[in-house]
Amino acid sequence: MNPHLVQKLGFGLLALISLVVVIPILLVIGAILAQGAPAISAEFLTAMPRDGMKAGGILPAIVGTLLLTAGTGLVAIPMGVGAAIYLSEYARDTGLTRAVRLAIVNLASVPSVVYGLFGVGIFVLLLQFGTSILAGSLTLAIMTLPVIISTSEEALRAVPMEFRTVSASLGGTPWQGIRRVVLPQALPGIITGVILGLLRSAGETAPILFTVAAFYLPALPQSVMDQTMALPYHLYVISTQVPGMPLSIQFGTALTLLIYVLSMNVIATLIRGYFRRRREW
């Protein structure tokens, strides 16, 4: 057969396959948008659930997820960025550094449900935090750590070596160079990575199953030692554990979670694009 005809057919086939990948994504978002949007109202977003969650709103789940995201960030950002600075600025290519890298790759691949078990064992039982926002945030933070480390390291490494050389030649110590020169330059990339990491943790269910999530708790948490409802777990509960649940509430909850996660995704993309255009190196 004529190779140019083969090429045309082949290119067409690959384009078709890419459509097969993309169309289901649009279908998922479209279906949840179409069926979830009618359920979302001011009451749905700001009221307590009523009648065994079959009526009312999902406020405690929203607040719980926001608190968990904040708690996760509070722990994971300093640890993750610190480890990234170590890898990009201080670590030499030794066996230890390679072990750290392997550990990070390994942390990234640990199944989320295993993090859940670990969280129960260490934070809930051993350290006696109980099922609490504290235990859940710590569990999610460990899970998020590898994402934040690898994206931050990439951002730090992208800063040209000259910046460090100039800082050192002006008499700056290594840390002064990192804090005043390298970090500010890498900040947009780090922020993007942090958001992408937190976005993943916000949608996770398995790590919070036994460490923080409450099945039905129509009250807002008062302290970090309280249990809380959370959007992903709430969606799991109302779609599998509660018989006779109105489908509109299920879709509404799914849509709320999807909007929360995807808006973080969009913000990260915008930040990345904005600073990439403004960057002078």
Binding site: P3, H4, Q7, F11, L13, L14, A15, I17, S18, V21, V22, I25, V28, I29, I32, M79, A83, I85, Y86, L87, Y90, V100, L102, A103, V105, N106, S109, V110, P111, S112, V113, V114, G116, L117, F118, V120, G121, I122, I142, L145, I149, G171, T173, P174, W175, G203, T205, A206, L209, F210, P232, L235, Y236, S239, Q250, A254, L258, L262, M264, N265
Partner: protein, 303 residues
């Protein structure tokens, strides 16, 4: 002048030293975390191997209420669903990566790449919910299965969850192939299509193998979506109709039963033993793909 020099000296000896130490500790603590997780799974999971006869533990019946802890159906369930998911996702992912990297016009790339990122961002519980409510009825009607919650439904959802990983890793692999390889292919009179299949893809094969392995690692550890769409029946997935029957994975078993067991009971230890098996399995996959990565680096960026 004198003052600034003094602060400089103070910074060198005081905070500078402390900050560097903190940063080093943070970096090395990742090793500690992995070790901690492993030791913890070991101490909680190993007792299961002493409390239960090995024949029982490797048996084909999982009925914890009657002291039957056969993990074989769960292991095979996880393997089957992962393999089917990869059979679907690997060709789709590699072809899409080739399309994005080698063929697509700029506008198509600008649409495809963000879409793949969006897919990576959709929480697994949302995909599970979609699979349960929308996909399962379609599978039931379309394939004539008694229930829509089957191995096939789970594998389909899982395939799309693994796609972003496969696509981005495969893309990186294609990216690493020097432009001179493509130019050489074209200069020999090959069409772009022939160059892609006979030159670029073979040159990127180790990276593409890595895409497959990382996708597999992602799929085997997935929990919520799998738990929601596979029907969770702990039976041996054998026979030709296994694809259209419910199945149960290791991850789903842990997530479903952990909330109900008493801490320190035999059942509790078995669940940790399953987690230990999962951890080791995924670690092995990661190690294998990391060795591929390191080897490629030694050979100078290729293969």
């Amino acid at each position: 002048m004198r003052r600034s020099r003094r602060t400089l000296v103070a910074l060198r000896s005081g905070p500078e030293w402390a900050i560097e130490a903190i940063i080093r500790v943070l970096g090395v603590s990742t090793i500690g975390l992995v070790a901690l997780i492993f030791i913890f799974l070991l101490t909680e999971g190993l007792p299961a191997f002493f409390e239960i006869p090995l024949g029982n533990l490797l048996g084909i019946r999982w009925y914890p209420t009657s002291e039957l802890y056969g993990t074989l159906p769960l292991l095979l369930g996880s393997v089957l669903i992962t393999v089917v998911a990869m059979i679907i996702a690997f060709p789709l992912g590699v072809c899409t990566a080739v399309f994005i990297r080698e063929i697509a016009p700029a506008w198509a790339r600008e649409i495809l790449k963000p879409m793949v990122e969006v897919l990576a961002g959709i929480p697994s519980v949302v995909l599970g919910f979609f699979g349960m409510v929308v996909l399962a009825p379609v599978v039931r009607e379309g394939l004539g299965a008694p229930t829509g919650l089957t191995t096939f439904t789970g594998a389909l959802v899982l395939a799309y969850m693994a796609l972003p990983t496969i696509i981005s890793v495969a893309e990186d692999a294609l990216d690493a192939v020097p432009k001179s390889y493509r130019d050489a292919g074209l200069a020999m009179g090959a069409t772009e299509w022939q160059t892609i299949w006979r030159v670029v893809l073979p040159a990127a094969r180790s990276g593409i193998l890595m895409a497959l392995m990382l996708g597999m690692g992602r799929a085997i550890g997935e929990t919520m979506a799998v738990m929601m769409v596979t029907g969770n029946a702990a039976r041996m997935p054998v026979g030709l109709d296994a694809l259209l029957r419910p199945v149960r994975t290791m991850t789903a078993t842990i997530a479903a039963e952990m909330g109900e067991v008493a801490s320190g009971s035999t059942h509790y230890h078995v669940l940790f033993a399953i987690a230990l098996i999962l951890f080791v399995l995924v670690f092995a996959i990661t190690l294998a793909s990391a060795s591929v990565m390191f080897r490629r680096r030694e050979r100078g960026g290729l293969r």
